[in-house]
Symmetry: C2
Subunit: 234 residues, 2 copies
């Protein structure tokens, strides 16, 4: 049982709170039973698991017990989760579906996590450009409710995809349904011209008024829904 | 200029952080220029405005100056907004559009605010049952990005509406387009039988697998989008 805050495993968990260390070490932390179970089921490689000594859950893997207060200290939740898993960031192999989202510098981890959930729900992949939020950071993982561990994650590639823009393009539901990949821009700036130009087409989600807007998570969810709808109706 | 934390206006702003006091006093607080401007433009009645003495914005209304540190203290933002407005909670009269969402005990203020934004974007109303999050609490207001001040808000009434359920009902896009009001259930429990029974029909958003799910904000956004799409296509 781990009873010292100087334990190297606890130190590593603390380190992995920053994206810099996650990128450098190629590891991330999943907190709580649901996320740890989703990562294991998704085939991600576990380095080690730590459980709250006072209320250890049943796990399909070996785990080390930690005093509750020490586990609470290294958690981003503000309390001790029943389990913390440290995983390798190497993505398990996944078959790439035709439907997918390509996110260009979407910086909010809540939006990245929510869109991972949408991709999982509609059977799509999720690609992130450099400058996007880390999908394996604590906030994105929580917002994804574990979906990120099931969704294929290829590299960002706008070529041949549809640029989803806020205004001025043809309506989304009139797109050629063979176009099944959607590029969404950053929360503040949308898509730059060079990314739109790289795409095969543009589309806009028609709204009630010109001043209105949807956030990127809502727009991406609608694009996935609409493609599935039109694809299944054919 | 207000320089004492015992000032009655600052005390009132502090009080209005709790839903109990908002309900009792029939007032709420909008923080920041964007929310205050949206409330004023939406016709909400301002009781008073407080501005940061160090960086007062241009406002179309009278405002009292407050020392930055005192304004920061009463703000839920963790810093001093340039302006805080205290408004009457009496809803300005609004024409009711045919399209709308009826939320049954949606308790997360972020979801309520996001759905207000979706209703605004698609020209819909938003009705909240008792037990839903307060749309005038600080988190819901921020998530709505001011949309809540433009959206009509009638009382919750599932009669004649469509119950959106996670599984087992006909697909959303096959609904009779004359049905234009959608009832969504709480994050944890969905819709209880008595609410589903009160509705005129049920619908499900088709997903890639039976284990998948959308959160209530995504489901409501899709329902609004799909109705607008099918309505405009006719």
């Amino acid at each position: 049982m781990i009873t010292s805050r100087d334990n190297p495993k606890l130190k590593l968990v603390r380190k992995l709170e920053t994206r810099r260390q996650r990128d450098k070490l190629g590891q991330f932390v999943a907190e709580g039973e649901d996320l740890v179970a989703a990562a294991l089921e998704g085939g991600w490689e576990l380095d080690f698991a730590l459980v709250d000594a006072a209320r250890a859950p049943d796990l399909p893997v070996r785990a080390e017990q930690v005093s509750s207060h020490l586990l609470a200290e290294v958690s981003t939740l503000g309390y001790a989760p029943r389990v913390i898993g440290v995983f390798r960031a190497a993505r398990p192999e996944r078959k790439l579906p035709p439907l997918g989202l390509e996110l260009w510098r979407v910086g909010d981890p809540g939006n990245v996590g929510t869109l991972a959930r949408a991709c999982d729900a509609f059977g799509a992949y999720l690609a992130l450009s450099p400058g996007s939020a880390d999908p394996f950071g604590p906030k994105a993982l929580r917002a994804s409710t574990g979906s990120i561990f099931r969704v294929p994650m290829p590299d960002f590639a706008p070529q041949g995809a549809v640029a989803l823009v806020a205004h001025g393009a043809p309506p989304l539901n009139e797109l050629d349904p063979s176009l099944s990949r959607f590029v969404l821009g950053s929360e503040r700036e949308g898509l730059p011209d060079e990314v739109v130009t790289a795409c095969a087409a543009s589309a806009t989600i028609p709204l009630a008024g010109p001043a209105e807007s949807l956030n990127v998570a809502m727009a991406g969810t609608i694009a996935l829904y609409d493609w599935r709808r039109s694809h299944e109706a054919r």
